[in-house]
C-alpha cells in the first residue's frame, strides 16, 4: 500500500490546510515539494495531477484529488474513525447542516478577502520581494471586518463555528488566520474577544502545533 502523498509547498496556505487535516487524523504522509517559484506547477507531470496547475494535490493509492477543501472532505470522510469526527458524521441533521453552512461561509465569505489580504501583505513581499499595495490591503481588510463581525456574534453563542464541537469548519480557517496574525492587520482578530478566544483554543491543538512547526516563517 502506497502512503499518502501531498504535492505542495510548506509555505502555501492551501497546502497547509491539507496537512492540518492529515495531522488531526494522525496520518502519515509524504510532502512532495512542488515549488511555485520554479514553475514546477506548470510542468506537464504536475498538470496531469491537477489540470489547473495549483497546489495541493493529494494522492492516496489510486485516488488523486485537488482543491484543498475537497481534499479535506475526503480525509475527514475516509478516516472518520481516526481522531475527531470532523464532519459530524455521527451528528443530527441540524448539526451536519451547520457544518455544511459554515464550510461554505469559509469558502464564499471569509476565504476571498483573507486570501487577497494575506497574499498582498505577506506572501507577495516574502516570496517575490515586491512591496505590498496598501490600497488592496485596506480594501480587503474592510471586507474582512464585516465578515468577522458575523463571526464574533457567532462565536459569542457557540464555542466553535459549527456549534459545540471542533470540526473541519474550524480547521479550514486556521491556515489563513495564522498568516493574518503575522500581518499589520492582526487586530482584525485580536480586537474581537470571542474570535480571539476561538483562535487561542484551536491553535493550541497538538495537531496544529505540529503543522505550524513545519511552516518555515
Amino acid at each position: 500500500m502506497g502512503g499518502i502523498k501531498i504535492y505542495g509547498m510548506p509555505t502555501s496556505t492551501n497546502t497547509i490546510r491539507a496537512l492540518a487535516a492529515l495531522n488531526e487524523k494522525g496520518l502519515d504522509y509524504e510532502l512532495v515539494i512542488v515549488d511555485l517559484r520554479t514553475g514546477a506547477h506548470k510542468h506537464p507531470n504536475f498538470l496531469a495531477l491537477n489540470p489547473f496547475g495549483q497546489i495541493p494535490v493529494l494522492e492516496d493509492g489510486d485516488v488523486v484529488l485537488f482543491e484543498s477543501r475537497a481534499i479535506n472532505r475526503y480525509i475527514a470522510t475516509k478516516y472518520a474513525e481516526a481522531g475527531p469526527d470532523l464532519l459530524l458524521s455521527g451528528g443530527t441533521p441540524a448539526e451536519r447542516a451547520a457544518v455544511e453552512i459554515w464550510l461554505e461561509v469559509e469558502s464564499q465569505q471569509f476565504g476571498p478577502p483573507i486570501a487577497s489580504l494575506v497574499f498582498e501583505a505577506l506572501i507577495k513581499p516574502m516570496l517575490v520581494k515586491a512591496t505590498a499595495d496598501e490600497a488592496i490591503v485596506e480594501a480587503q481588510a474592510a471586507k474582512l471586518e464585516k465578515v468577522l463581525d458575523v463571526y464574533e456574534a457567532r462565536l459569542a453563542q457557540n464555542k466553535y463555528l459549527a456549534g459545540e464541537h471542533f470540526t473541519l469548519v474550524d480547521l479550514n480557517h486556521i491556515p489563513y488566520t495564522n498568516y493574518l496574525l503575522k500581518t499589520s492587520k492582526a487586530a482584525l482578530v485580536t480586537s474581537r474577544p470571542h474570535l480571539l478566544a476561538w483562535w487561542k483554543d484551536v491553535s493550541a491543538r497538538p495537531a496544529w502545533v505540529k503543522t505550524a512547526a513545519g511552516i518555515p516563517f
Binding site: 489540470p51 489547473f52 485516488v63 484529488l65 485537488f66 482543491e67 477543501r69 475537497a70 472532505r73 475526503y74 470522510t77 475516509k78 441533521p93 441540524a94 447542516a97 455544511e100 453552512i101 464550510l103 461554505e104 461561509v105 469558502s107 464564499q108 465569505q109 465578515v147 458575523v150 456574534a153 457567532r154
Partner: protein
Amino acid sequence: MAAVKLFAPVMSTAATRVVLCLEEVGAEYERVDIDLATGEHKSPAHLARNPFGQVPAFQDGDLVLFESRAIGRYVLRKFKSSDVDLLHGSSLEESAMVNVWLEVEAQQYDKAIFPIFFQVMVIPNIFHGVSDEKVIGENLEKLGRVLDVYEARLSQTKYLAGDFFSFADLSHYPITHFAIKFPQVAPLFEARPHVKAWWKSLESRPAVKKVAAKLPQLS
C-alpha cells in the same frame, strides 16, 4: 409534512441552484420573495435567517440554512433516493470527485464567470452604470482557460465528476443560463465541442427545463 421554504427573489442565481436541487429530487417547496430593491435582505427578519444578509435562505421545519451550495447538499442528502443521488455519498471515490468539481465550480469557474455576469448584466440593468470592459476582458481570458480544462476533462468523462451526472454539473447551471447568451461568452462554449455538448445535456434535463422556463428573460 410542511413543505420546505426558500427565501429569495426569482432573479437570484444562488436561489436557482437550490431550486434545481429541489426539482431534481421532486421535493415540495414554497418560495417566499425577498425584495432586494427595498433592502429586505438586510431586514432583522432576514438577518435572523442569514447573518450575511444574502439570498437565499431556506427553512425546513425548525432548521434554517443559508449558502446555496450548503442548502443544495442538505436537500440532495435528505431527499436522496435510489433514482436520484447527485452526491454519490455511498461511494468514497465518486463522492470525492463530485466534491473536487464542486470546488472547481466555486473556486475556478464562478470566479471567472461571475465578474463577467456582474459587469454585463447587473451593472447596467440594476445599477444603471457602465460596464468595465477591462474587467470583462480579463475574466473572459480566465474563463477561456478554465473552459480549456473542462474541454479536456469532458473528452474523458461524460460529466465533470465522472460518467454520472452530479451536483457538480448542476451547480454550474444558474449563472451559465444567463452568461452563455452574452455575445462575448457564447463563442467560448461554441468553440469547445465537449463543453458545448455537456451544456446541451444539462439544458435538456426535465428539471432544468422546468426551472429555466420560470427564469426572467433579460435583454
